[in-house]
Symmetry: C2
Subunit: 353 residues, 2 copies
């Protein structure tokens, strides 16, 4: 399919101080759109000036949560622009699509479309340290009908947001509240999909954690209410005296691409990494025995994010004296070096635009 | 607050054959809108010509499922128009709002707004038998920002859809597939809220049931995977030789207004109704012993909907010879008589517009 291009008559002024970008607040000059209907399939791919969309009030996506999204970044180094494992994002997009009954996209075409969009917007990719261009592909159901049923039409969009460093003052350990009241997702549900409903379910817990001085929550499984699942916007890893452990993909956890990359990096380094069921009590116990050395989260936004404190069931657990651990720092440095192409990464991870 | 009114320059032609209306497909000439921002709270309530809305691509509601809705109907009888327990809908709207971190609405004002809208659109309320005007209030998060956080702005809308009878050929028993693979919602999640994410989670199961010749699914709880929860768009009741039983509101079931009304009607008639945990095995066992007399669903769309067959774990259970049971028929007649004001209902149920 040809991607049509509609030139903007007036380009926006770029934000000079990239430290003030924040996250997901500013958007670039262009966006990518593509429609789906039953007769034509995915059609009319186009790059057009960024702006409001028109939608019918009865569009299914506004009522029944039939929406999915992805999140990734473009990085600039020495004037060149790179994507990081973007193929994995479109693969996961199709997994989310499948769970939400949204027709699949052509992953190779999506990669082509994304590259074309990024190429046009390459001046928008920040070049100050740890700032990047956040990329948000998403799909919403647009059929104007109120019966609960998969939509027969969709809109796919990619919007771009130049974003500042996740940690304004450099990498810093975060305090995490272990959530034992609310549940994010459960096996048999849509927890493995990057679907709006999972995030909607997280808001109240997130707010309550913030009110108590915590940065994010660590979700516990909804069935046994004892196994660790994931952090608000990250997967989680525990560094123990006997290797690194992380919750296995159990059917309710999001399969993070940063998670996968960290596991692969660790294995390539010959480190012991085990994906398994992890009870929160096991973590508390490891800590008591002095065997919990570090905890860190992984995600597109923060890359690798050290955890300095866990609060669970009335108990505060300070990890590594609230300082950044060696493993966390090493993995952060290693992965960001690869993402910004300051170092050669494994085959296929770095995609130059 | 004054509700401003913007007159439409051209009214639509109404659908002559009300049997062809279907559900949620046609919309009336006007819609109600109201905005929320942190400074002004809910503001600028207005009734304007029905049409597309403009939304920013980064609006949170499109990404993180921060949306809720309600569903109710207006009924016409002898030229007069009635709402049925609409106050309960706005009460539940605020319960959904609370769970999804959406600011509460003024329930009395919402009732006033709805009455004003229905009054303007009274000619759109169908007057053929069992056709009605479906009312869809809903709220979407509109803050144009990609961080996962409750939005600081919202749009509330009410749209109206003249809808035909649920059963074109009269009340008919439906076949229900007992879902043992997918899970709709779990305690601690958002199952009790009328939020998009719950419906998104139901689509795949619904499609698979339809492919197997079933009308809807009966959800089983996500924790023990044995207790009956609700049907796709309905709550469920079982008529046994020892009274009527229905799943208790356990924190993952939607609190249906039709459910509540049926329980109240049955109690007023002196019938035995018990809300309790009900294992699917208990139902299968009652059937084997000949003690399961009828099964029916309750919801705004179908009112009371007899179940003629349950399929669970490879076993087909035919209920009441696949025919409409006496209790189901009686409750259907009773409740529709009240909704259409052919009969006087309990205090406050019938609201004349």
């Amino acid at each position: 399919m040809d991607i049509r291009f509609e030139k903007s008559l007036k380009l926006k002024e770029k934000i000079k101080d990239e430290n003030k970008l924040g996250f997901g607040t500013y958007f670039t000059d262009y966006m990518f759109l593509m429609d789906y209907d039953e007769k034509n399939g995915w059609n009319d791919p186009r790059i057009v000036p960024y702006g409001n969309i028109e939608i019918q009030p009865s569009a299914m996506g506004l009522h029944y949560g039939q929406t999915i999204f992805e999140g990734l970044k473009a990085y600039k180094n020495d004037g060149k622009v790179y994507l990081f494992r973007a193929d994995e994002n479109f693969k996961r997009m199709n997994e989310s699509n499948d769970r939400l009954c949204i027709p699949p996209v052509d992953e190779e075409f999506m990669m082509e479309a994304l590259k074309k969009l990024i190429d046009i917007e390459r001046d928008w990719v920040p070049d100050s340290k740890e700032a990047s261009l956040y990329i948000r592909p998403f799909i919403i159901a647009t059929e104007p009908k109120l019966g609960v049923h998969p939509s027969d039409s969709y809109l796919l969009m990619i919007i771009l947001s130049p974003s500042g460093p996740y940690y304004k003052d450099g990498l810093a350990p975060m305090k995490i509240y272990v959530e034992d009241k609310y549940v994010r997702a459960v096996k048999g549900g849509i927890g493995t999909a990057k679907a709006g409903g999972n995030y909607a379910a997280s808001l109240k817990s997130q707010i309550e954690a913030e009110e108590n001085g915590y940065f994010q929550v660590l979700w516990i499984d909804g069935v046994d209410r004892k196994y660790v699942e994931e952090v608000g916007s990250m997967n989680i890893f525990f560094v123990t005296d006997d290797g690194i452990i992380t919750p296995e993909l159990n059917g309710s956890i999001l399969s993070g691409i940063t998670r996968k990359s960290i596991i692969e990096l660790l294995k390539a380094e010959g480190q012991k990494v085990v994906e398994k069921k992890i009870a929160i009590d096991e973590i508390m116990d490891l800590h008591k025995k002095g065997k919990l050395l570090e905890v860190f989260g992984t995600g597109t936004a923060a890359v690798v994010s050290p955890v300095g404190e866990l609060f669970y069931n009335g108990e505060k657990v300070v990890i590594n004296n609230g300082e950044i651990g060696k493993v966390s720092q090493h993995l952060y440095d290693e992965l960001t070096d690869i993402q910004w192409a300051r170092k050669k990464g494994p085959e296929g991870w770095q995609i130059e635009v």
